[in-house]
Symmetry: D4
Subunit: 161 residues, 8 copies
């Protein structure tokens, strides 16, 4: 049991210390998050649907969450999980739904912690960089939730730079 | 029950759409995370302690986690939770321990999801900006864990810019 | 990093402060909840089934829960989750089961926190307003659970006003 | 084992069916919830604190949640749990902290599911009826969080009727 | 690695197969459980307290749970956990609270899964055999919760045989 | 808000207090539980399979659990959950698997808390009364796990009276 | 109720105390774990995929975990769970995916605690003895994750003795 | 965003590939685990205490678990958690209790996942190498649980080599 000595010899050296650079990232601000959540809730309300809308930052942590009057209690976690799923996978959850239907070997994506693979989660991007996502839940069909999410993103598109 | 109409009138307008700017943030890269984790594990090993070291990014998500041979299974979550606690509170967990001892009204900080208020978690900063944290668990005393964390940060200090 | 100043400029103004009205809602009382739970347990008992029956308020929180002698331990959570699912979706869980069978894209509804998409959960309504739900579990088939739930609702129908 | 017959004899009769009345309740609307959350975030921002503010309805389910830029990830659950704790206990969490300090027999209140007994949660009332609560987390001291919560409530006070 | 062969040699023989007798136990029926829960809710209501009352069987599984109008959502789990704690420990939770105050080495009893060590949980016994327990939560003090639990037990005492 | 008065009028009277009888139940003793677990582990070992075997009482709480050398860590919860599922549903889990394959409307049985619907869980009965169950996990196929469970039950059959 | 006396008669004697031998096992060291995790992350990076790689010991506890820059937050648990699944089942998760597709009766394997049945988890073996596993998550397809895992194992193959 | 190229340059080289040796470990076999669990249950039974006894391997995974007739349901997790805590910390839980009483800065050890810091958990060692642990729960005092654990270890001491 000379593991302590052995452990002392671990030398996970970077080839060059100079090569390690801090990441420079864009991230979702509260201001845009609120516009997104409000845009989705009001778009869905105009269509007659009471929904929750959650906006997460690039790490999947909630920035803004609004639940319409009469939206059921489950919409809080449904919206949050759709947003988390979408920001982490970098694609709309509706695309993930399609992928699973084509490839049963991917079916267990749905078992990943925090994932909810239902249409209604859409990433928010600057160019190719995902800076957050919006998730919507409560309309009678994921495609309706997604339409509200997309409408909300369209309204803030010119601020995503 | 005319809530749907009412919901349509929510207008959470930003005073000026132009004021919403995307956040520009620094974040922990994998390269430095590995150096930090390795530095803490090897420093503690040199002192005869088998520990786990976890490095998280600014959102508290793990970037690197190493568990020394013979470090107990609980050290995985202990190290991770100390890192999460420290990055989210922006201060070393040892300071939080002191604060609770001075102010019993703060004792329930420990009940926050994911928090572990034991010495051994230290934020990693560029100036005043917290870009991540390192948590260490497994030494026979939190101050010993913290010493290994601090030694690891000292080694990468010149890359934090 | 002048986010603090920026945050000071958030102005999520309602178009008119006067438009914000407190919601006036109907909700499930304990008295009716007990009648519902008892009605379901006794109806199922008359059919030879030992079940649990849970009644939740409009937010999905339990008001009354009864478990028949010899009903298995899993029926407590099964009944509660069916009631939660139904009150939050505003439709019987049997309809949700059918919807999923028609539309595989909705299959992951079942992954929402607290949801159990098995027949046996039925909303309790005053007109179009859902004020709670009853969930039944333990009969050898969800349609049998649902029949007991419906029988219980029928008995209290004239009090739902 | 003649329990099935016995179960058939349960007769939990209400003394008078006529006495069972549906509850008439006031509840937190989204509009006021947003004003409250925004009020707390901006008040704290003016004081230099980056916080999350969560507003829940009378059942403890989130209506609105905003996280300021640079507020740590733990503030999301801290704010939500303070709001839940306060709305369910009908008193400010700061009062619960005091009660526990006076009466150690109450210390385990903190072990109740979803409870976080730290100052910063305040009920929102119409007269004596609690219709929701606001929870704030992220300032360097619960009394500072509470001050932002109280300031937010003061701004909407005339709408609480 | 000849473990499979070795495993074949395990012979956990009972000294005498004849000595293994099936347990003959008394257990809480639904009928008495409902009387107990109703007794506690109505006693507390008469004192002006809105509470939840949970009755569990000897294994700690819920038999009956009633939540009074206006009792907060946390009382559901508080009552259930007090009942579980009391039935499993075979003593009132108020006694456990006292024991912890006398013996700090027992303080971590509170960390056991499902335990809530607050006054208000009382075992229901036939002679020395614990057949279930009642837990009450929501009154402004555990001793008040306990008084309602005891009053409810007194009413059914003559049926406990 | 005169709910407190109203609550005072709840009168869930049993038709006759005399009709409430304490349940007389048979339950799994430790002695037989150990024989069952050992029987399943050794039968599977003789077939070359390293398994865990869990025996639960009639409420689904573990009485005995044995994990063979080289049985993977997941077998502990797999065996326990199969036993819980089987004791609560009163039928072998293999029958539940078949039922789900015939009736897709029952597919979500698998989402019930603590359920694992894989062959290998078998109830232990005295006549028609279920007094416990055994669950086995780790063989390369649920039917193989079930065979070991059945062999173990056969060995103790004459004690089940 | 003479169970205490009865319990005293339990005598689970081993046929021969001499037959009980302590297990001699090989296990994954930190050094090889780091090589494996780094090999998988860098192989995937060369292919343009940002992944997490987790290496667990024979009991399924994490030894090393690395998350590439830009790999989503879900990859941490996805990689860890694939590794756990593979080490406990002793086969690649891709084989489990195939088995489930052939045998619907095995579909609920996916419901076992900690299991994630998606390609990308591969056991690490010395001869027939599984000493750990590697799990990879984040590439756009489980077969791509698995390729990186296999490449990493190939690099350390000669040390596995 | 040239992180992919950068990631390609990670070179966590071990100083010498030859230095990475697979760990050679001793571990708890089922045979001894059963003897230990039985020894603790029967010793406590002789003293009049109904307990659960859990034996874990060196990674903290259960090998054997026995619950005495009339031991409460909470003793299953209490015994298991004490064993996990002790094997991972390498010391008896009674020593951890003392350490916390001396050093309040260590109080939050109790918040580590899976830990239960109550007397009754004792490591099982071969020389200085911890190969498992036994945890006992259910006696009216942790020191009584610990005495049963120690008695059980004494009986198998000569096999620990």
């Amino acid at each position: 049991m000379n593991r302590i000595l052995l452990a002392g010899t671990i030398a996970l050296a970077l080839t060059s210390a100079a090569s390690a650079e801090v990441l420079k990232e864009n991230n979702m601000p509260l201001d845009i998050a609120v516009e997104l959540a409000q845009g989705a809730v009001s778009t869905c309300a105009a269509d007659g649907y009471n929904v929750s809308a959650a906006v997460v930052d690039r790490a999947g942590v909630v920035r803004a969450l609004l639940r319409a009057d009469n939206a059921g209690p489950h919409t809080v976690s449904a919206a949050s999980q759709k947003a988390f799923t979408s920001v982490s996978a970098r694609i709309p959850t509706s695309v993930m739904v399609e992928n699973i239907q084509k490839n049963q070997g991917a079916a267990q994506l749905v078992a990943i912690d925090g994932f909810l693979v239902l249409a209604g989660g859409v990433p928010v991007k600057i160019g190719k960089e995902t800076i957050g996502a919006i998730g919507v839940g409560g309309a009678p069909g994921g495609h309706l939730d997604e339409a509200c999410a997309n409408a909300a993103i369209a309204k803030v598109q010119d601020q995503l730079k």
